[in-house]
Symmetry: C2
Subunit: 227 residues, 2 copies
DNA sequence: CCAAAAGTGTTAACGCTACACCCATGT
DNA sequence: ACATGGGTGTAGCGTTAACACTTTTGG
């Protein structure tokens, strides 16, 4: 550190670095996002689950750590979204936050509210409350990315259980894109992409023909035009 | 700051925040990136121009400030790329860096090496030297994004002067995508997108038919499938 | 008149969209 | 037998990719 200018700049900087997670799931054909209810600062407001990163971890690792804390899940689709840096985004300190977004399968997950928060809940993204900080803005950004991801990559797979029917898959797409899709055309495309394989099992649910169950032939992330 | 946990975390964090710019241009049908030669730390190595962000500015503003310092240019296409956070990416301190990328028009720009650096140069991206920190990695990432941008948005316009010929435009695409394009199909697509308007001027250059000059009918950023 | 880049249309293959009926099951 | 969602094919249209010759200029 022989350069005094750099040293001076270093000394001056007084900024904290955080991560905020946009954790999505689809349930009953509706898109949900995980929110927490804040204690202490901004008490009672809903916000994205997040936290400061540690000196020795990457931001991605921090996001994963927090995802696991909130949902118990690991090894999911998790992707850096954007770094938000408005100086006044946090009224209490200069905090720059890197947002991540994660997709988790239909969540009959035991949410375990950590002592850090007053509550944890899945909120339908169509009717979000006013969130703390710039989190409404972050969620808006995340929704756009999600739409893109689901249309152009195989990320949808992360929202489904191990085995699923084609109708369930289609419902995931419809929930995220917020529009109806044609059943036959949808199946043609899925078939063309060729990432699914039939299982011998079927799913019987209600008074109608049982549906074939499918699984992924590979779980690698791919860029594939789907819709 | 009533929560002692948060306070403790705050107190512990010892991370600096920087920005690194990937500034591209196309010259003579080749893609270039702006690099600086380092003084002091890692002396003699080439690196992306960057610097620490200030307590009162956004990261984007920092990127713009640095772009202006290096090239004198402002008001260009400038976009956040990714935030790189490997704990060991900077051997001297924990520095997390948000990379930006910028496109500037064919650069007969007076590069003014700031006293911070030993040299500033345009490097052809096809033969980059080994760069400082994780900058080779950042550039790789930036190249991918650039390919995508040029294919699916009107970002190419940022690489051209006010008025330009269709062949010049095509050369920009060919340089970035690193492949030849069909002249007639290219022009059909450009025409369909409808963002250009003819001027009455032509450009005469060498012993052949002069080319019509075009300009943009709008400079707004748009998402448009082009190639 | 020759060299060099500018400019210009057509055809064939492919992909996308719209659309309607039979199937397997539970009650 | 009927109600419910599962499952399947085709025709028309638009988009893309491949391809070659004429035009305008300077030398």
């Amino acid at each position: 550190m022989s350069n005094p200018t750099v040293q001076a700049e270093h000394a001056k900087q007084n900024i904290k670095l955080a991560v905020d997670n946009c954790i999505f799931t689809v349930k009953d054909g509706k898109l949900f996002i995980l929110l927490i209810k804040m204690k202490s600062k901004l008490q009672g407001m809903w916000a994205l689950p997040g936290g400061l990163i540690k000196d020795t971890e990457t931001i991605g690792a921090a996001a994963q750590r927090i995802l696991k804390q909130e949902t118990g899940l690991s090894d999911n689709y998790l992707e850096q979204l954007y770094t938000f840096s408005q100086p006044n985004r946090d009224p209490f300190a200069r905090v720059i936050s890197t947002a991540y977004f994660a997709l988790i399968p239909d969540a009959n997950i035991e949410l375990k509210p950590s002592p850090k928060y007053d509550d944890v809940r899945w909120y339908p993204v169509k009717k979000l409350p006013e969130l703390a900080y710039d989190h409404n803005h972050i969620v808006k950004y995340a929704k756009q990315r999600l739409e893109w991801k689901i249309s152009y990559t195989n990320a949808a797979w992360s929202l489904l259980p191990e085995k699923f029917t084609l109708t369930e898959l289609q419902k995931v797409y419809e929930a995220i894109l917020n529009k109806k899709l044609d059943k036959r055309n949808f199946r043609k495309k899925i078939d063309k992409v060729g990432l699914l394989k039939e299982t011998k099992q079927t799913k019987l649910e209600g008074a109608h023909r049982p549906a074939k169950l499918y699984e992924f032939s590979s779980k690698k992330k791919k860029i594939v035009e789907i819709i």
